[in-house]
Symmetry: C2
Subunit: 506 residues, 2 copies
């Protein structure tokens, strides 16, 4: 089978067929190629030493040649057959899926509690839709091969597709969430929850509203989700581009004031701090700064009404991250983490350790982005937050390593202790399915009772419906509770109700 | 620049993938490539410094300027700014998402009722993982651009990634479902539910079991789902590769017998038909055919126990579809459809009108596929079915065009008839959120009561909690039922319980 695959792969790949002798000949050439290739790249790399992507490039080129070699190889090369997922990606096994669904459920319940709708967009966009939105990070975008037709790229986040969606459908007001995978050709750190394919989990409010009200709700949502997920204590750090620019970047700001910033940054709570900054002689001369600080005061007054000021901190050291942010930006970090994996939340490129270590959520205002897609440049003010869900997964998965998590919801296994009762077992199982009961039956003619009970132990099925000649004659089923091992006869007519009743009690 | 070097050299290196028709020619190209590569890497390292610093920024600036030009440009430039999704793809708006989630819920409930786990795999796989699995249809696979590193392709279905997952993790027994998007560079027919990005909805049973039991459960599942989705009457057509080959393809089959096939095909029910075929003098001489027909009899006896024989038909005209199928294959079609959109279920390439028109589900046995990924060629017998969900969506969306479907679940809007009560509205809203109530508040300082009530009418919010000076003084809220317009004062302390109670009644 494998050699057939090998040759056919070769055929499809190089669009010519080859006999085995030629095949191994080409393989020999390929070996040389790998060696020569490696030497040359090494030479080149001496000159490229200082550039981050270089070493990675060499590895990737070699790994690609190994792939090629595997395809060229015949039977004797089975060992080079590459059986893996793409670099920086992973499969989710059933246990990981159970955790994933639990986390999503918590988050989606929160989004719906706040009256959000949901949308979905394609996994790839026209390349030009993503162009000029991510600055330096654009180099991390996955492009699709030009196979004729449009030039396409995999989405890098959910925010730019959302802005494209609003402009395309001329939507000026919406509160929506979007949970989907995004793609970044980044250096993966998978043990720390950083992947090339990863989920983003976005909540955004688009529309022209009175200042700081949607902003406050976004922070409330982050507060609710991080509290409900029970990840330990956290802080939500906030910064203002405009305030910060005035304070840090503009000339004419006395160095003493600049020094004060250090204190400001370390201060807790926001309102009192805004006051202090407003009293700053230099700062108060700047219209922009005053406006920003007034907004800040207003926001914090709303946050007090929402009971979330305990976790929110004004932090001028916060990096702006992605290009499209304007005005307020925020980032949430866990404060108790020991081994803090990097995550890829919306505020900040995946690559920037400094920004993303320990971070579990981020977001901000991007009032200009939708306008970039509108021919007349009409703006739609937007604010949104993104939960760094991969980080949450890896924390949850660590927690769950010990625990036994069910990956199915089966309520009852239909079993038998005697031979030649397959038909009876199938018949009863179908009765249960048709009554909406979650039921399983082993796909064997005559399974041992022990192996049927073991299946329940392994997968956590709480009940067993046991059929025997006698039970069939009497029109009953022996219903066994796996945990207690107690068995009672239940009439066939009452079985469904009995199973439902017991599962509610469990 | 290092990354560019990689991209360029491999661009060259693999440029002979797609062309040349002689092995010697390819070796000649290899030699050329080594030279090309050497030169390029020399050049690369020479100007590495310059490019690492500048190339990316230059590209970015140019594309930004082009973007800007497109936006600022007059009429003559507007047509250059494309605002659309990629060909053959679509966004899901909130109403479509509501329908989608309803359909998924029905299907997933069925899968869980049958004790299935779920897994997920990356949206792209190593190109070689997909190579040689789809025969002719391979030309429809989306490849990713070679940006250095592994050669990747978007998944074409969920079956090959599933087989790769099983082989990679040495899993020999699993019952799993997988709902995810797959990608085919096909001629889209979007009005008829055929897209380049579309959902597949797969249920598969892998493992060595007694014959026909898993096969019967797969058909039972298709029967349950199509019944619950209430799409009108349907038929599940089945065929056997081995039986068919014997009857149709093998020589030595008398033409009279071949003629009889016509009758056989038109026959309803399976068991009696299997009997008839077994009695056929020519056919009964073929071991393979007899084995196939015996399996068929066995399967139909299980289908009788599952009460699904009313819909199942043996149909020799059924096309085999994808390469990897072995033994039994099935396809479900709606029998009452007027405008039958084409769908892309698993059995049969999306392109084949003949196969896919009116089809809403398909699947079959693929006992050889996992072995293609195993170095020792170890086989894991598999059978699975796939629901043609896009087809179901378009039917549901047509049905829903008239209806008004809620896209949020908000239970109560916190409103006010008077000015300057924003703080009070926000405070109450937060109280409701914290109590788990789905609540909204308009993001305006002083919204009109009418506009607040209109928002409820438009989005289907059933209750309004109205605050006024008097209510605040009395510690009550005026709770209004939108439908009946009746209002009652409810004490603040009892509001949460009252809202919950009323929402249950609704």
């Amino acid at each position: 089978m494998c050699s057939r695959t090998g040759v056919q792969t070769f055929g499809n790949y190089f669009s010519f067929n080859t006999g085995h002798s030629q095949n191994s000949h080409s393989e020999h050439r390929c070996n040389q190629l790998i060696n020569n290739e490696y030497v040359m790249i090494r030479q080149a790399s001496d000159c490229c030493m200082y550039f981050c992507l270089c070493a990675q490039q060499i590895d990737e080129e070699v790994s690609k040649l190994l792939q090629l070699k595997a395809q060229l190889g015949g039977d004797e090369d089975k060992h080079t057959f590459v059986l893996k997922t793409a670099k920086g990606t992973r499969d989710y096994n059933p246990k990981q899926m159970a955790i994933r669904e639990k986390v999503f459920d918590t988050i989606i319940r929160c989004f719906k509690r706040h009256g959000a709708e949901t949308i979905d967009t394609p996994v790839f966009e026209l390349k030009e839709t993503l162009t000029g939105k991510y600055g330096e990070d654009s180099k991390l975008i996955y492009d699709l091969k030009d196979q004729g037709g449009e030039l396409l790229s995999l989405r890098y986040d959910l925010t730019v597709p959302f802005a494209r969606y609003l402009a395309m459908n001329k939507i000026t007001n919406i509160k929506r969430y979007h949970i989907a995978k995004v793609y970044r050709r980044d250096n993966p750190a998978m043990t720390r929850g950083r992947y090339r394919e990863f989920y983003q989990c976005d909540f955004d409010i688009a529309g022209q509203y009175d200042p700081m009200i949607p902003d406050a709700e976004c922070l409330k949502i982050v507060h609710e989700i991080l509290s409900e997920l029970d990840l330990g204590d956290f802080r939500i750090k906030m910064s203002w581009e405009d305030v910060k620019n005035e304070m840090v970047n503009e000339k004419g700001l006395a160095s003493e004031v600049a020094d004060q910033i250090g204190e400001y940054v370390s201060m807790q709570g926001g309102k009192d701090m805004a006051e202090k900054l407003l009293q700053d002689p230099k700062l108060s001369q700047s219209k922009q700064a005053c406006a920003g600080l007034a907004d800040m005061k207003l926001l914090f007054s709303y946050l007090e009404l929402f009971n979330v000021t305990d976790k929110v901190v004004f932090d001028l050291s916060l990096a702006r991250g992605l290009d499209y942010y304007t005005g307020v930006i925020c980032e949430a970090v866990l404060t108790q983490t020991t081994s803090a994996p990097a995550t890829q939340e919306r505020n900040g490129p995946a690559g920037e350790e400094g920004v993303s270590v320990g971070s579990v959520a981020g977001g901000g205002r991007y009032d200009g982005l939708v306008g970039m897609f509108d021919l007349k440049g009409r703006k739609v003010p937007c604010i949104g937050v993104s939960i760094g869900i991969e980080r949450v997964f890896s924390i949850m998965e660590q927690k769950a390593e010990a625990e036994k998590i069910r990956t199915t919801e089966t309520q009852v296994l239909v079993a038998s202790a005697q031979k030649n009762l397959l038909e009876e077992r199938l018949k009863l199982t179908a009765e249960l399915w048709d009554a909406g009961i979650k039921a399983e039956v082993l796909y064997k003619k005559n399974p041992k009772l022990l192996s049927q009970l073991q299946h329940c132990e392994e997968t956590g099925i709480p009940l067993v419906a046991i059929l025997g000649e006698q039970e069939i004659k009497d029109g009953v089923v022996k219903l066994r509770t796996v945990a207690t091992r107690e068995e009672v006869d239940v009439s066939r007519a009452e079985l469904v109700e009995e199973v439902k009743k017991r599962c509610q009690q469990l």
